[in-house]
């Protein structure tokens, strides 16, 4: 009887151990969860503002009516990675948001009719096809602009396959605080929108991201 018991017991233990190992294996095969991200999940909206600026004193704006491409070559206005299909959409969405916040647009600014704020739009296309093991992401910050603030630090992307990333910069320059002849431009608020290019749903992603930039900046609203 004793022998039978042990014999049965060993078989039972063996199956139990195998079952347990099986459960552990299943458990470990998913160490990094696949969240099934869509292209919209890779969109990031960053806004930064100067807390010492009294935004309530800024009530009128002019919008520079084109999207400047950052190409690294001043004689080349168009980036080969970006097309201009969405320029009108970008400009009109920004204009709508500024108006909804209570700003009055000055469509034809002049020395006699100067806006409080000038809004500019820049775009940068970046091809990512190598490892970045840290440091500044190449899309962040660009030379030639003297900002009061700075673009936030982000480490480089770690990846190997080639893909394309677009970055849209919306700047909000305080005209009175800037010294334009001397190239000192004060931007108390800016938005940076970053996302994958050519990955679908571009119109809705652009609109949503621009709206988000203004939605997360309630201090811009004119009371």
């Amino acid at each position: 009887m004793k022998t039978n018991f042990l014999k049965k017991n060993k078989i039972w233990q063996k199956y139990l151990s195998i079952l347990f190992l099986f459960i552990l294996t299943i458990n470990l095969t998913s160490c990094y969860t696949d969240y099934g991200l869509t292209s919209a999940d890779y969109d990031v909206v960053v806004t930064q503002w100067d807390k010492t600026t009294d935004f309530d004193t800024l009530k009128t704006f002019s919008l520079v009516d084109s999207v400047f491409h950052i190409t690294g070559d001043k004689d080349e206005p168009d980036s080969e990675l970006l097309d201009r299909t969405y320029d009108r959409l970008i400009i009109s969405t920004i204009r709508t948001n500024m108006k909804e916040l209570g700003y009055a647009e000055i469509a034809d600014p002049s020395d006699q009719n100067e806006p409080d704020v000038v809004v500019t739009i820049h775009a940068l296309g970046t091809q990512i096809d190598q490892y970045y093991a840290g440091g500044y992401y190449p899309g962040w910050g660009y030379p030639g602009w003297g900002y009061g603030g700075y673009y936030p630090y982000y480490p480089g992307y770690v990846g190997k396959s080639t893909y394309y990333v677009g970055t849209l910069y919306i700047d909000y320059f305080d005209v009175d605080a800037s010294d334009i002849p001397n190239d000192i431009l004060v931007s108390p608020w800016y938005a940076t929108i970053n996302g994958l290019l050519n990955s679908g749903a571009t119109e809705s992603r652009l609109t949503n991201s621009i709206n988000q930039a203004f939605d997360q900046s309630p201090y811009l609203k004119i009371n």
Binding site: L6, N9, W12, Q13, L16, S17, F20, L21, I23, L24, N27, L28, S30, C31, Y32, T33, Y35, L37, D41, Y42, D43, V44, V45, V46, T47, Q48, W49, D50, K51, T52, I128, Y137, G149, P152, Y154, P155, Y157, V158, G159, V165, N194, G195, L196, Q212, Q216, S217
Partner: protein, 210 residues
């Protein structure tokens, strides 16, 4: 060799060790571990982890005491879309995007346990403590950006549990353990207080010789 590969090899080695070391006064323990982050760890990821395991060996030095060592792995992750607001004195920053946050914790400890009751009792409650290190990797992903930090932490792990004999050589082991990793380095978001802690609920099998 990547960390995943290293862990795979280590797992295989420990698996063989735990199978081959079943001696008279030795307990080889294989556990499934769940974990609930607490304190600062919960600030980063609040969700309970259902992914974790540990290997452990304990040797009886007397009727009531064991001493041994363990290796474990707990994986915490979450997906959130909350707005991140960073408030400096003169500058405010707001970041919106889908965030994927990960914490991988690898405890490696020596431990001592005290068992209540007789050695052949069906139910043997115990308590004990582990002392050693936690290797903790934190990863933060937002958009196409990713940041990862890893640190070795000094750690303590007080534990209570029980062994329930299923046969003469196999027991069910259930335990609750507070994993406390003292601050080391910086968190993935740059905080100098990098204390990590989580409460583990562990269910496993303990094998021993006849």
């Amino acid at each position: 060799m990547g960390i995943k590969m290293k862990m795979k090899y280590l797992t295989i080695i420990l698996l063989f060790l735990s199978v081959n070391l079943f001696a008279q006064d030795f307990l080889g323990i294989l556990s499934y571990n769940t974990a609930m982050p607490v304190s600062k760890s919960a600030d980063y990821i609040s969700e309970v982890s259902w992914k974790g395991f540990s290997f452990e060996g304990r040797t009886f030095s007397s009727r009531h005491w064991t001493f041994g060592g363990m290796f474990g792995w707990n994986i915490f992750d979450t997906k959130i879309t909350d707005l991140i607001v960073i408030d400096d004195e003169t500058t405010g920053t707001a970041v919106k995007g889908t965030q994927i946050r990960y914490t991988n914790s690898f405890p490696m400890m020596v431990n001592g346990h005290f068992y209540i009751g007789k050695k052949r009792s069906t139910l043997r409650p115990y308590f004990g403590v582990g002392i050693g290190t936690y290797y903790i990797i934190q990863r933060f992903e937002i958009g196409v950006f990713q940041r990862e930090v890893s640190n070795w932490h000094f750690g303590l792990a007080p534990e209570v549990g029980f062994l329930l004999a299923l046969s003469r050589s196999t027991s069910l082991i259930v335990s609750a353990k507070l994993n406390y990793a003292f601050s080391s380095g910086k968190t993935v978001y740059g905080d100098t207080d990098n204390t990590q802690s989580y409460i583990g609920l562990n269910v496993g099998l303990a094998f021993s010789g006849y």
